[in-house]
């Protein structure tokens, strides 16, 4: 039954391959590489300007406003992106705000990767009731509207960067646990793991030397996609007033304060929005690109 179907289908990719032998496949390969290199270098530039540029070049302080230069337009001398309604330099607030976004994203993903990854892997490797209990706990977190959880934690801990990180970790830990669990279940009965187990390798050694290297690409791409989500959620917390409060600059609270002036000075909202969007697109594109390259699902 399925033989003629397979034959018919085989012709399609074969033609594709024959045509793609020369320039076309090389072009596609380049495109693949560009898909990773372009967002990657954009992110590198953003990171450079957020973390290193303020140290080597003098930029106006993000929290000292000049009341004589309020609401300066774009491209004003000394203030490339203008100033806001208190006279703060928008460019410098964007850069320092970007620091917060990147720091929060990196910390939340790292905590999720280590804690959630270990839990998920250990539970799936051991199986039995450990896994059953973990899965029920994960179900609770999934049935729970994540934003509510994050709001409640952020509100109970009070506004600060560390607390936002803890609150958002409550979101990343179960996500990583699920991915690590699925990956472990897939790998657990593979011949090389069975062979290792039969030759008497200890469980922790199997996990760290055999399982971790094999699921690392998947977890890494997942953390890039997660970082984009974290940056968006961090902004949402600021936006709803549960995040990092002004005058500390973050993209989220810049958008939230700009909201009151939206009809007069839309750029107060548009400028941080563009940075947020570009960062999140770059992280998503890189995650997708690496996922395609490493062939992980």
């Amino acid at each position: 039954m399925s033989v003629p179907a397979a034959d018919l289908l085989a012709t399609v990719p074969a033609q594709d391959l024959a045509a793609g032998e020369g320039a076309a496949s090389r072009a596609r390969g380049w495109l693949r590489t560009l898909e990773i290199v372009v967002p990657g270098s954009l992110l590198a530039v953003l990171l450079f300007f957020c973390f290193i540029w303020p140290a080597i070049y003098h930029i106006p302080s993000p929290t000292v406003g000049d009341l004589l230069q309020v609401n300066a337009p774009l491209w004003s001398p000394g203030h490339i992106l203008g100033t806001d309604s208190v006279g703060y330099d928008i460019m410098s607030r964007i850069l320092y705000g970007g620091r917060v976004s990147f720091e929060v994203a990196a910390a939340v993903q790292a905590i999720g990767l280590v804690v959630g990854g270990l839990f998920g892997m250990a539970a799936a490797y051991r199986g039995g009731w450990t896994e059953a209990v973990l899965m029920r706990v994960l179900d609770v977190f999934i049935a729970f509207p994540s934003l509510v959880l994050v709001l409640a934690i952020a509100d109970s801990l009070g506004p600060s960067e560390t607390h936002v990180i803890w609150a958002l970790s409550a979101f990343s830990i179960p996500a990583f646990a699920r991915v690590a669990r699925a990956a472990t279940l897939r790998l657990r009965d593979q011949p090389f793991v069975v062979a290792a187990r039969l030759s008497g390798t200890r469980a922790w050694r199997i996990m760290f030397q055999h399982l971790v290297p094999n699921m690392a690409p998947q977890l890494l791409t997942f953390s890039l996609l997660g970082a984009s989500l974290t940056i968006i959620l961090e902004g949402a917390l600021d936006f709803l007033g549960y995040g990092i409060p002004p005058p500390t600059p973050t993209w989220g609270n810049m958008i939230a304060t700009g909201q009151s002036f939206i009809s007069v000075f839309p750029r107060l909202v548009v400028v941080p929005s563009i940075f947020l969007l570009v960062t999140s697109i770059c992280l998503n594109m890189m995650g997708d690109g690496l996922r395609a390259r490493w062939g992980v699902r």
Partner: protein, 344 residues
Amino acid sequence: MNTSVPVQPARWPGSSFARRLASSPAVRVSGRRLLSAIPVLWGVTFLTFLLLNALPGDAASALLGINATPAEIRSFSIKLHLNEPLWTRYGHWLAAAATGNLGTSLASPQSVASIIGSRLPVTLELVVYALIITFVVSVPLAVLCARWPRGIIDRLCLVLSMASISIAPYVLGLLLVILFAVDTSIFPAIGYTSLTTSVAGNLHTMTLPSLVLALPLIGFYTRFLRADLLEQMQSEDYIVTARAKGVSEWKIVTRHALRNSFIGLLTVIGLNLATLIGATVIVEEIFSLPGIGYELLNAISNRDVPVVEGIVLVFGIAVVLANLLTDLLYGVLDPRIRHVRSRS
């Protein structure tokens, strides 16, 4: 070979129907799923209760304001039963909730059920409207993309969907407000007209909020549906049969592949519902729509525990039911799955 006549179990008309119903895979699956949902929902309410009690401040001081004297706060918290230990309060709430009574709001004399009843329709309308927009846009787009893979439309869709997935709901909301409410006043920036007052007015106020919810979904569903369509077109026998019969490519995509891809799309919607509900909180806050998410933010800041518990419970039940419904529909739409399941 066993030649003896198999013994037929005795049949009574009434009980055979009951037995058939009980042995029907759909009923068995829903029964099992609903039972396993109970500990999950319990966990959700318990977690909420613990979290709300860990918050600094309580309902008494939040509701009386900063000018209240300590004596007033004390008597008010006795009236609200806030002086009782945490376990007693949770026990009372749980016992009442198990019988369907969600209690009374601490902030107003209204019952939690009536608050949810008045707020839920707004959120439901928002979600349904957003899903309709999503379907109307993303199904034709996905079909166009799958008809000419790697064509111009396909590439454009890929870029746009990446952007729409990456955009934060508050950013999208404010940008749409700038475009449609500030620069051109096509839609209002805030406000709500109920469906019963005026249908046109309601659509006028609900379109922008629904668009904010729908745009990221459009990006996601278009990509998902396109991938699923292409997979169907490349690997399924019935597509080969259709091609061999000389059915046109258009008809193959729209009639044959699309029907099967809808099954996959359905599961994704079921799984997405929790995220969608989370996004309604932000959307309702931006456009100040009197929905359940708006009420939730209010209740959290008022430390109004019964209302928060009630809303979280409704969210949890919605997610559980959506997932169950998805699974059941899955079996209805794809007979292969139904037969595999009933055999096992």
